[in-house]
Subunit: 459 residues, 2 copies
């Protein structure tokens, strides 16, 4: 129904009239961007037959249910024909939309406008090549974070109160949003004046609840920074999934897992959770919230290894879409990639190739936005630091407004008046690259797991 | 006329019939690739109104003549309205073709299928960031190549004979091609069985004639390696401009300016040019043919600095096409970029912004293929070396067949059955990156201009 409404001929006529009118003369202004973006989206939609859109929607819904059951039963064979069908349908969609280099280009464009298989491979392959030896060096160091302190007793009511205060401190506006509890954390709502965050609490896992709050608050702060006067229009919408993720990851990791942040908040944490944290030195706590080790599950992985989970998925889904990998060979290719990259292999498909929901609904091209988000976060954060001064010192003093203001001015208000790759070039002076994130990860994990690690992995 | 023939409705019907037939079932096979590629090109052409195609052709022809006169008169103002018109027409073409991220994407696709402004920026910005300090370190070293030996007397007849023997030795087949003299060197012809090379000779510039021959022979060797049974079809056509350039640059620079190559050929050169080279040690000659220094003119620049000339042009033409730079501001932006990157500024526009023909004919998107070619060359050459062993030792023994055979198998016979970015990923195991070329340039110029340079520039 939405497809039929979006592709109605009169909408096309309106947009064609607008695009040549004086109203849209300034291509970089709100109106120009709105007309250009709405017209681009509509053009793309009109290329896909309504029957195909319908079949994709129906199949995705069924496939999702089959996947959920197959994961529970650890039965890839049951899911396989549905994955094959979703893949076929989405390739058909890509063929209808058209592309230059790869059908993957037409799919990824739905999530990250301006990106292609090639442009993503250029930056994620570099990241994978540099991050794989760093993670191997972390393992080889033999050092172990004191992560057991985070599994002590953290009463849920105190966690909720503590997390809410932290979210407010970094800049989430509780007068324009709220925080509730669900099974899976998320950020939703209805525009910048009504942003709904959720998280979950586990008495014996402080990190899960707290960093989920910071992560979702990061998403929420971005939503609250979008232009209310452009709500519902491209100029008032999030630029891309990767830019959205850059905001959540920045507050979760680059702020929330920084040493400065805990210099500011740790005494407070010890007062809120005396049974768990009294007598635990700040440095131990800092190491605990920054533990890094290869694991099987993407959503439970850490600041360093997370990106390798994403690189693996990008490589596999691109090969699927480009016809270089058959669905039947996917579980084996999955396990091979994990062995080569993270050095771990899941004994079950449930914790392997079946762990994520995305492919079951045909979301090929979505995964890379997670790693691109981390890259954008690091590169933007460095640029903010060059302009604002010592961010870590500000965090140690509980000052988050400078960073928040910088993000508001340079990222949030832009909406979709620019694409993400262009924004980062303009604001940071360089094309997106793996260098800022890798520099940051080498410095942090070199400090925690042994100084020689930073040098040894920087080949 | 060509446009009308290419976009004739019956051609579309034939291709639509073919694409769903069993003949094209194997997408990676010759027939599948031919149908896919011909259909893709035709689809793109049909989007551009015939009147626009005609206007672009007519304007390009006039603009070219105005540019030639303006360059002679050092008069950018005379050329400016024509450049503005060419730019406007090509942007109009891009709008007609459609794009996701940038109008530049639609233009670059004509020269380098599968590339976009973003994918190119990812790799060329990294190259520029690493190469700029290397070139600065070369200047700072204070060392000077003994380039005057190349300006001694090299009789033209002896140059022609010597160059022809070298071209034959590296693998150019004179039974399927020839070498003649023109004002500007080029490679043309009519298919793999009839390849025409040209060069020019200057008695007092050995390098210009000899390396032009190796460069054009590299193009010619590629043409001779294309599939004769697919002549006129995509499967028998060069993959892209960058891949074409990778072959010319590989034989010119990675082979022809290597130490091994001259260990093999230098005694011969001394016999051919006794007046010039008797008493000149091999190492001096090797340094002379590898002189690197910032200069104003792209076509006269060297293996290292050449790429910076291209990076500058890519940045400027992309900004022009994306509306971030006005043609009126182009000469100033050109000089600023040269100052920041190469540290030199031309006193005239004739030797500055007016030096190249490309923009006068509206060829926005062509320049980056030159630098991409150098990157492909280095990455493919490394992969060949990993498979074949010590290439430099082979060259020192006059053995070029192993490299030639490798290129035939892995690059030449592929035609357009694959895009360039995918080919390099499959053959070298990695997405195109600046690393192989930078590693090579650091090693070579570190050796010539001082060992510390390699380390100091590798930041």
């Amino acid at each position: 129904m939405a497809h039929r409404r979006n592709t109605a001929p009169e909408v096309g006529e309106w947009l064609d009239t607008l695009v040549t009118s004086d109203l849209a003369a300034d291509a970089a202004g709100d109106l120009g961007a709105n007309v250009r973006e709405l017209r681009r989206r509509r053009k793309k939609l009109t290329k896909v037959p309504a029957a195909l859109v319908e079949e994709i929607a129906r199949t995705a819904s069924q496939s999702h249910q089959v996947w959920a059951a197959a994961r529970k039963a650890d039965d890839f064979a049951a899911f396989r024909p549905w994955l094959e069908k979703m893949l076929r349908l989405r390739i058909e969609q890509a063929e209808a939309v058209g592309y230059s280099g790869s059908p993957y280009d037409a799919l990824v464009d739905d999530y990250e406008p301006g990106e292609t298989a090639v442009s993503i491979a250029r930056v994620l392959d570099a990241l994978r090549a540099e991050l794989t030896p760093l993670v191997a060096a972390i393992v080889k160091s033999g050092r172990k974070a004191p992560s057991e302190v985070l599994a002590r007793s953290f009463p849920v009511a105190a966690q909720a109160e503590f997390g809410k205060r932290a979210a407010a401190a970094i800049g989430f506006d509780f007068d324009a949003g709220r925080l509730d509890t669900t099974h899976h954390p998320f950020c939703g709502g209805a525009g910048p004046r009504d942003v709904r965050l959720t998280t979950r609490y586990n008495e014996h896992d402080f990190g899960d609840g707290f960093f989920s709050i910071l992560h979702e608050a990061g998403h929420g702060i971005y939503e609250q920074g979008l232009r209310a006067d452009q709500y519902g229009m491209p100029a008032g919408e999030a630029m891309s999934l990767a830019i959205h993720e850059s905001q959540s990851r920045m507050w979760e990791n680059l702020v929330g897992r920084s040493y400065g942040f805990w210099r500011w908040l740790y005494a407070d944490a010890q007062r809120a959770f005396p049974a768990a944290l009294a007598g635990v030195p700040l440095d131990d706590f800092y190491f605990a919230v920054n533990e890094s080790k290869p694991s099987l599950i993407r959503t439970e992985s850490d600041e360093a290894t997370y990106n390798l989970h994403v690189c693996i998925r990008f490589g596999l889904e691109r090969a699927l879409v480009e016809g270089r990998l058959a669905v039947a060979d996917l579980p084996g290719a999955w396990n091979d990639a994990y062995r080569d990259t993270l050095g771990v292999v899941s004994p079950t498909d449930a914790n392997g190739v079946l762990q994520d929901v995305h492919w079951s609904e045909g979301m090929f091209g979505y995964f890379p936005t997670y790693a691109l988000g981390n890259l954008y976060a690091a590169q933007l954060f460095d640029a903010a630091g060059r302009e604002l001064g010592d961010l870590d010192a500000m965090f140690a003093a509980g000052e988050f407004e400078p960073l928040l203001g910088w993000l508001r001015r340079n990222v949030h208000v832009v909406g979709q008046c620019e694409t993400a790759p262009r924004l980062v070039e303009r604001v940071t002076g360089a094309s997106l690259s793996a260098a800022p994130l890798m520099q940051r990860l080498r410095a942090k994990f070199g400090g925690l797991y042994g100084g020689s690690l930073a040098a040894s992995a920087a080949s």
